[in-house]
């Protein structure tokens, strides 16, 4: 198993916008991979080790929904949540963790998340 993960920069959006990002994990033939037992976490930080600017998790349910049978990891931020985001560009990281002990951790992607400061309040 490799831990190499692609770089992906989510679409920039404006403070106050709703934003969703859906990842479908598939095999090379397009068949869904079963994610039973996995939890997901998405974090945004200015740099590694700095305070988290945004944290979404599937367990506890906070912004991420996993549909195991279809291999889908769905992230969602409400307008209220995005309005509170107070950064312009920061590092982001989406990972999966299995329920095994110790868990198998798999990064799906990492990149940069950009937020446009809103003008109209």
């Amino acid at each position: 198993m490799s831990t190499r993960a692609p770089i992906y920069d989510p679409e920039p959006f404006m403070q106050g916008d709703t934003w969703t990002l859906t990842v479908d994990v598939q095999d090379n033939n397009g068949a869904a991979k079963d994610l039973t037992g996995y939890t997901a976490k998405y974090e945004v930080r200015e740099r590694p080790g700095s305070p988290s600017l945004l944290t979404l998790t599937s367990t506890p349910a906070a912004g991420i929904t996993i549909t195991a049978a279809t291999g889908r990891v769905a992230l969602a931020i409400t307008s209220t949540q995005s309005a509170a985001l107070n950064f312009k560009k920061a590092k982001c990281h989406l990972k999966l963790s299995s329920s095994a002990t110790p868990p198998v951790v798999q990064t799906l992607f990492h990149g940069e998340q950009e937020i446009y400061s809103r003008i109209a309040q």
């Binding site: 198993m1 490799s2 831990t3 190499r4 993960a5 692609p6 992906y8 989510p10 679409e11 959006f13 404006m14 916008d17 709703t18 934003w19 969703t20 990002l21 859906t22 990842v23 479908d24 994990v25 598939q26 095999d27 090379n28 991979k33 079963d34 994610l35 039973t36 037992g37 996995y38 195991a68 291999g71 999966l96 963790s97 299995s98 329920s99 095994a100 002990t101 868990p103 198998v104 798999q106 799906l108 992607f109």
Partner: protein, 204 residues
């Protein structure tokens, strides 16, 4: 393996939407699999402790079998086979006709020593006059006129058409290889059309 990523920003006509496919190295998606470490010793069983939860049921002792046990965390426990209650029984129809052939009715032959814990005799007619009188017995054989070493297990005369015996047996312990039978003392009352005979026992 690949990731198909789609994004939306606002669900209004000015939505920005894109879809990207990224190639990613294969990774194990058996995160829900039961880890081998669940089993710590020979003979252990993996059992469900709830929805999506498992645990090991350590092996029991020789001769034990797993039985359902809702009071256990694992829902199953090991139990010695001999302590499991088993049953002989059935319905006797038209007992007068059977009695006319011969008064003994074969119930079972013991394959091992057993101990009787309960006998139920239940007639279809519960009126005080519709009774049967007889004994549950065992013997070395079922040959007509022989029944060597016949032993009374319990007297089963009914009252109001029924008799339940759970204690006070004449002899509740039956050796292996014996024939168990019901012996009518007299012809059953004409109103008795059916008799339920149920014998509960455990292996010794």
């Amino acid at each position: 393996m690949k990731l198909v990523i789609s994004e939306t920003v606002n669900d209004i006509p000015v939505v920005t939407e894109k879809e990207t496919t990224l190639v990613i190295s294969d990774f194990d998606t058996s995160g829900g699999a039961v880890p081998l470490s669940t089993i710590t010793a020979k003979g252990g069983l993996i059992v469900g402790t709830g929805a999506g939860a498992v645990a090991q049921l350590p092996v029991g002792t020789n001769g034990q079998v797993p039985v359902a046990a809702t009071g256990e965390t694992t829902g199953i426990k090991w139990q010695t086979l001999s302590t499991l209650t088993k049953e002989w029984g059935g319905t006797i129809s038209n007992p007068q006709a059977i009695y006319a052939q011969r008064p003994q009715m074969f119930v079972a032959k013991t394959i091992a020593a057993v101990t009787i814990s309960s006998i139920l005799v239940d007639c279809n007619d519960p009126t005080p006059t519709a009774e049967i009188a007889g004994d549950l017995k065992f013997a070395d054989d079922m040959s007509d006129g022989v029944f060597a070493n016949a032993t009374v297990i319990a007297t089963c005369d009914t009252t109001n058409g029924t008799k339940l015996i759970t204690s006070g047996f004449n002899d509740a312990t039956i050796p292996a290889g014996k024939y168990v039978y019901f012996l009518f003392d007299s012809s059953p009352h004409a109103d008795v059309k059916d008799i339920l005979l149920q014998v509960l026992y455990t292996f010794d």
